[in-house]
């Protein structure tokens, strides 16, 4: 499909502005102005609408396709939450209005949403305080790692390392490094953290341990109580990566279990849309002793019931966001929590886990399931074995696209060969799950009889497999081929 730039016709106007007859040069010296007009497309409004409508048809999304992308919790995004976030009372609010001394009472609705949201998240996870500022999961990790650093600094501890298990998301070590820590990786045993490996790595200079629970294999960390004790014994802090929170709502609170810092992904667990890669929201919760280190501002409720922004926290790590985080995303998650309530949240977790186990069980004779026991909200399969005739996880993923399903996550976690990581979520009906199983059975059978047809997929989409090596070598990153 042509790009917009290729469709452009000089002097064609889109949304006609006709705002002024003045020129920029009337207000600024020529030397401060750009020498040539910016080369953006010149198209009519309908041309633009049609271009993007056509582009949208070249995309899979939850609205149109089963999207069992492991670790990403691609559940249904309720439409009414979009209406909530688009209310003019929220979208038109300038963030600085809340910082004007006399204008706090003009933003009470927004401040109440944030205050209430923090308290709901505290109760859901059993933490003492929250910040809503981090703008994505990885940003939450960075915030959490910085809080850990600030805590140890304040105590005068000389701690320089953070431990990550080998099953961790790649962002965990990257976030820890960005916060100034040295990263120590430890190996798993039987798919979960090996307490002995952890003990060996837990030296006095360890500031914290980042854990995903259930982990990326979809397994609950059975040694958790022991792990918590060991970590706290050396005055290290335990970090909870909330990527997999959808597996435990109402069943366990990470604060009760002894975690000190947690980030949540509102775009996963709390059903805000992923938007093709963002915007997300990654609130961070902490235990009591870490509350003073949370980013500023914090929302405070006064005795007379008014809400204010409170900047008076001298131990705070400072600003993680220019303002209060991705407020528009919070609104959607807040509406979702109000809608589901305590029974609905618990029910979401139960059906997420049931659906994953149902798929795991139905697929155990189809694909190798390396850790074939009760899993949480996701499980991993492995595309190995002679029956597959050399058909790999990648081939199966592409063949699923031809069946109209988005593929599961593949080749992650790294510790499973030819890994296929499936997370169905609670919002998919049994018919959809059964259809997915039938399609996988057909693909695996075809691998036995006609492996080349599987390796040739996808054949029903606008493009077939793309040459990624060429993309990296040629580096055509714009329509102008700006790079060599």
């Amino acid at each position: 499909m042509k790009t917009m730039f290729e469709k452009s016709t000089p002097c064609r106007q889109g949304v006609c502005q006709n705002l002024t007859t003045s020129k920029a040069a009337d207000f600024l010296p020529r030397g401060l102005l750009r020498s040539a007009r910016v080369r953006l497309p010149e198209l009519g409004e309908l041309d633009v609408v049609r271009h993007f409508t056509r582009l949208s048809r070249r995309n899979f999304g939850v609205d149109g396709n089963f999207y069992p992308l492991g670790s990403c919790t691609m559940k249904y995004n309720p439409k009414f939450t979009e209406v909530v976030a688009a209310l003019p009372g929220f979208t038109r609010l300038h963030p600085l209005t809340a910082q004007l001394k006399g204008a706090g009472h003009f933003t009470q609705g927004a401040l109440e949403v944030m205050y209430d949201m923090e308290h709901l998240l505290c109760e859901i996870t059993g933490m003492a305080g929250y910040t809503l500022h981090p703008m994505a999961g990885a940003h939450g990790e960075l915030t959490g790692a910085m809080i850990i650093a600030a805590y140890h600094k304040a105590k005068g501890n000389k701690k320089t390392k953070i431990i990550c298990p080998d099953s961790a998301h790649g962002t965990n070590p990257a976030s820890a490094a960005l916060a100034g820590f040295e990263v120590v990786n430890i190996e798993s045993k039987d798919g979960i953290v090996d307490p002995e490996a952890l003990r060996a790595a837990l030296t006095d200079d360890v500031a914290g341990v980042m854990l995903t629970c259930p982990n990326t294999l979809g397994l609950f960390e059975r040694h958790l109580p022991e792990i918590v004790r060991m970590i706290h014994d050396v005055d290290a802090l335990l970090y909870y990566d909330g990527a997999n929170m959808n597996a435990i709502m109402g069943k366990m609170r990470v604060g009760d279990a002894g975690f000190d810092v947690v980030h949540l992904n509102l775009h996963k667990t709390f059903a805000t849309p992923h938007g093709g890669g963002g915007p997300g929201s990654g609130p961070v919760g902490v235990c009591e002793k870490l509350v003073p280190f949370l980013p500023i501002s914090r929302v405070k409720k006064l005795e007379d019931g008014r809400y204010i922004l409170d900047y008076d926290h001298p131990q705070s790590i400072g600003y993680m966001a220019p303002f209060y985080g991705n407020f528009g995303v919070m609104l959607k998650a807040y509406a979702y929590i109000l809608r589901l309530g305590r029974e609905g949240l618990t029910r979401a977790t139960e059906y997420a886990v049931l659906s994953a186990n149902y798929l795991r069980k139905r697929l155990e004779d189809v694909l190798e399931i390396p850790y074939n026991r009760i899993c949480m909200h996701e499980f991993v399969a492995s595309a190995v074995g002679d029956a597959l005739n050399g058909v790999r996880a990648l081939d199966i993923a592409k063949a699923l696209l031809d069946k109209g399903h988005h593929a599961p996550t593949i080749y992650f976690p790294l510790i499973v060969k030819e890994c296929i990581m499936v997370e169905p979520t609670e919002t998919e009906c049994k018919d959809t799950l059964d259809g997915f199983v039938d399609d996988l059975i057909e693909i695996v059978q075809r691998a036995g009889t006609d492996p080349d047809s599987v390796k040739a997929s996808p054949v029903t989409l606008p493009v077939s497999r793309l040459d990624e090596t060429k993309a990296a070598r040629d580096m055509v990153l714009t329509d102008d081929c700006g790079c060599e």
Binding site: R34, N59, A86, L100, A103, G126, A174, M252, A335
Partner: protein, 445 residues
């Protein structure tokens, strides 16, 4: 139960297939003593009830103020087609395009976004966006640190947004980096002092155009100096104004960054927005975040993929260029559609109208006895005023009457307690400005 479609019969069948008798059995791995001590969340509400509650909350925010607040975040008109298009479920319920064949819509849109941003900035390469303007500056500084290998000194202008300066000092507190802030001069970026501060120990220098006080500069000389001492020059810009202002590319900057809120994002009480980063081709491997490249499939058809992934954390883990594993894709799509709808002419018109109104406002306001411009340098749509009284008091008094006259600079700058930062956009009218000027005049009498 909302959004859980399973019938009782299906639930029973599924449990049976799994080989358990109850839902609870699925959670047997979680020990009893780790079960929630409380889970005191209110009962669920109907969609109608939640909507009513949210509408009540929204109504408690006063959004019919005539506001001259800017400070980097501006209330521009967004064509209705932007919302209509990004509301398509195929865009907003998709995730990161890990399966390119099923994500050509998102990928081509990002490629077009990259093209549009590079052309706007006159730079070679860009990524698919980062969280916001502040994190973009931080990431750009870190590009400079990596490119310089061992240098740890960062020079920033005090006329760079104080909001971003606080973010930078927060982000770097546990890193072995030295932030040197060069004071502003009556609201002017002190280019001479910056050039003196940038030396062979400097990894990066960061300035803003127009600066926080609205002042427009040409940073060519500074960029040239930075290049001579092998420091990375970073310019933070106001993307809408970039349609008329001399570009970072023309000035010879190594990295251009911005918050693209002004291109298609509603103010939304602080987010979501998006940070954009564009750089020279020499810097591309230092660039964090998602990048889309053009390629072909087996039948030689053009297609798009995520590329240069060797920089990223799922491969490099702690050695990655950054921890950023997503982008503000939907916001980037908004920005792209917004730019496409307006086109070069629409953007220029909008930028020029903002300037026209701001210059009118500056004239009207400085006609008031005792009110003068903080500095007489060139500005676009925002300027700083010196008042004879505290700016806080003025803001409080006028806001009560429905007009927010601007942002009190004393909030972030000691010694500027009497100064007010006033921004205009195309949404203001001359009448709005006239009324505000009369109110201020009346107050100061």
């Amino acid at each position: 139960m909302p959004y859980v479609p399973h019938t009782e019969e299906e639930t029973r069948q599924m449990l049976e297939t799994v080989g358990v008798t109850s839902m609870e059995e699925l959670f047997a791995d979680i020990p009893r003593h780790l079960r929630p001590k409380s889970f005191d969340i209110p009962h669920g509400l109907s969609e109608m009830e939640v909507m009513a509650r949210m509408e009540r909350l929204a109504a408690r925010n006063k959004v019919d103020l005539v506001s001259f607040l800017g400070a980097g975040f501006y209330d521009h008109h967004i064509p209705a087609a932007v919302d209509a298009l990004v509301s398509r479920g195929e865009f907003y319920t998709a995730y990161t395009p890990y399966q390119p064949e099923a994500s050509q819509g998102t990928l081509q849109a990002i490629f077009e976004f990259q093209t549009a941003i590079c052309r706007l900035m006159d730079m070679d390469c860009t990524n698919a966006s980062v969280y916001d303007g502040g994190s973009a500056i931080f990431e750009a500084m870190m590009m400079g640190v990596r490119a310089s290998k061992k240098r740890n000194k960062l020079v920033i202008s005090e006329a760079l947004s104080p909001i971003y300066r606080i973010m930078l000092s927060s982000y770097t507190f546990n890193l072995n980096l030295e932030l040197v802030t060069v004071p502003h001069k009556q609201g002017q970026t002190d280019i001479r002092a910056l050039m003196d501060a940038v030396d062979t120990d400097t990894a990066a220098v960061v300035v803003q155009n127009p600066n926080f006080f609205g002042q427009v500069n040409d940073f060519s000389e500074l960029c040239q100096h930075a290049r001579a001492v092998k420091a990375t020059s970073v310019i933070s810009v106001y993307p809408l104004m970039q349609s008329v202002l001399k570009t970072p590319g023309e000035m010879g900057a190594d990295v251009a960054v911005a918050d693209a809120q002004s291109l298609g994002q509603p103010l939304s009480f602080g987010g979501p927005y998006l940070g954009i980063m564009a750089c020279t081709k020499q810097m591309v491997r230092q660039l964090p975040g998602r990048i889309v490249g053009r390629t072909v499939d087996g039948q030689d058809r053009t297609g798009y993929v995520l590329t240069l992934q060797a920089r990223e954390q799922h491969i490099r883990r702690q050695k990655a260029t950054s921890n950023i594993c997503s982008n503000q894709a939907l916001c980037a799509l908004r920005t792209l559609i917004h730019m496409s709808l307006l086109g070069p002419g629409g953007l220029e018109q909008t930028a020029t109208r903002c300037m026209e109104l701001a210059h009118y406002a500056a004239k009207r306001l400085t006609d008031i006895p005792g009110v003068e411009l903080l500095t007489d340098g060139p500005f676009c749509n925002e300027f700083a005023l010196k008042l004879p009284v505290s700016a806080y008091e003025v803001v409080d008094a006028l806001t009560e009457r429905g007009y927010v006259p601007g942002f009190p600079l004393g909030r972030y700058y000691e010694g500027l307690e009497n100064c007010l930062l006033v921004a205009c956009t195309e949404k203001h009218t001359r009448e709005d400005i006239g009324i505000m000027a009369e109110m201020l005049g009346g107050l100061l009498k």
